[in-house]
Symmetry: C2
Subunit: 245 residues, 2 copies
């Protein structure tokens, strides 16, 4: 990794450096720390799209001043998670159905490429782990667990890729669409569609054979199918808490 933004390493929620006691924190990373925390909150659904973010509230909660908070907001703005308006404030970004479709189309173009970077150096251990994740996902009933496993599964597919911008961009795409995946899953958890799991199983099989070409096709098809499913339910993108604070 060299210069990209949301540090492609931390694929999981980064709950490690949460020294709430306020001591022993290194000097010089407050902005990044706050950004990471707020990012996790947004992805976890604690903040909802359209919700206002107040600098002072964040500063107080993290025991910092508003200066690093503003840095954090700039970071998240560049990732598309937060929308800043000069002299007015900042809100959690929301997506329209069209915009979400756009991101899934980007994923269709980029993730097969990222997979191509990953496959050659993908270890058997990771493939075994992917198999476990796919199986576990198939058994899981809880929506939040499914979302967590699905994210972990796909990002693990790319874990062997060492890229500087491609991985970042894909991660950003996942992050910006995370809320709407959750909304979709919550709304249609009854009518379970097994094709998702079939895709995952096929993908693991292709990866086990190190058949990158087939893996890329399965993956593109998987993303495309999800995009079409989302596109059939634009009502997910209508309701949101409050447009403005």
């Amino acid at each position: 990794m060299a210069s990209g933004a949301p540090d492609p390493v931390s694929l999981e929620r980064a709950d490690d450096v949460t020294t709430e006691n306020g001591a022993l924190l290194p000097h010089g990373e407050a902005g990044v720390r706050i950004a990471a925390a707020l990012r996790d909150e947004i992805l976890g659904g604690d903040y909802l799209p359209g919700e206002r973010i107040r600098q002072q509230e964040l500063a107080g909660r993290h025991g910092a001043s508003r200066v690093p908070v503003r840095e954090a907001l700039r970071i998240l703005e560049s990732e598309g998670l937060v929308t800043l308006v000069t002299n007015a404030g900042s809100w959690v970004s929301r997506l329209s159905a069209q915009e979400c479709t756009e991101m899934y189309q980007m994923r269709e173009g980029l993730e097969p490429l990222l997979l191509r970077y990953s496959v050659p150096t993908l270890s058997d251990d990771v493939v075994d782990q992917l198999q476990q994740l796919a199986d576990e996902m198939q058994r899981s009933a809880d929506v939040e667990q499914f979302l967590r496993l699905d994210r972990k599964f796909h990002l693990a597919c790319y874990s062997a890729a060492s890229t500087i911008m491609l991985g970042d961009t894909v991660l950003r795409l996942w992050n910006r669409t995370q809320h709407y995946r959750r909304a979709y899953s919550l709304m249609f958890r009854a009518e379970r569609d097994d094709s998702v799991h079939y895709d995952h199983q096929l993908l693991v099989a292709a990866l086990r054979n190190r058949d990158g070409e087939d893996a890329e096709r399965v993956l593109a098809s998987h993303i495309r199918r999800t995009r079409l499913a989302l596109g059939r339910h634009p009502e997910i993108f209508d309701a949101s808490p409050r447009q403005e604070g």
Copy 2:
């Protein structure tokens, strides 16, 4: 446009708001202004990859304090143009040959998609303008002029697309690779390769016919050819001014 970062509108160098007299500047955009200025300087070749950026120097030059400068550096870091190291400083990002190849592969996947968004609403005026740019480029001898026209040409192809993240991402890819396009053009300006111009002419023709499918293929082929050409000359990526300040 909604929330993306490097404001896809300002495709050109933004030399408009440079009120050096220090008066009449609106309150609340110093960080963005400084970022825009520094971005232009990096893209223009005034700052070179590997060169150190000092906060105070920037602040003094723009008649501002270091706070908005730090904001600007965060913005440019997220665009990949600047690399920040905690407690150490900031440098203009540099690319290896591999990394540059990666970005061109991303362009191959994304720009045809962006073109697909643009073609349906592309006006005849823009097509005429593209024709002029392609012709002018073919005649131009100066490297800097060619670079400027080439950039303007390609970005104009996408000017009718209204996307929120796709356009931004493509612009970032252009920006991060800009320096190496210049280095390549400067090094091989003698042995002119007309295939670039043929591509441009074919692209304009396809756009005039509103043949999006053909335009996408020509574009992908054009980018791919450029990628391979760059890949054949890794020496471009070796020398740079100074690794550290």
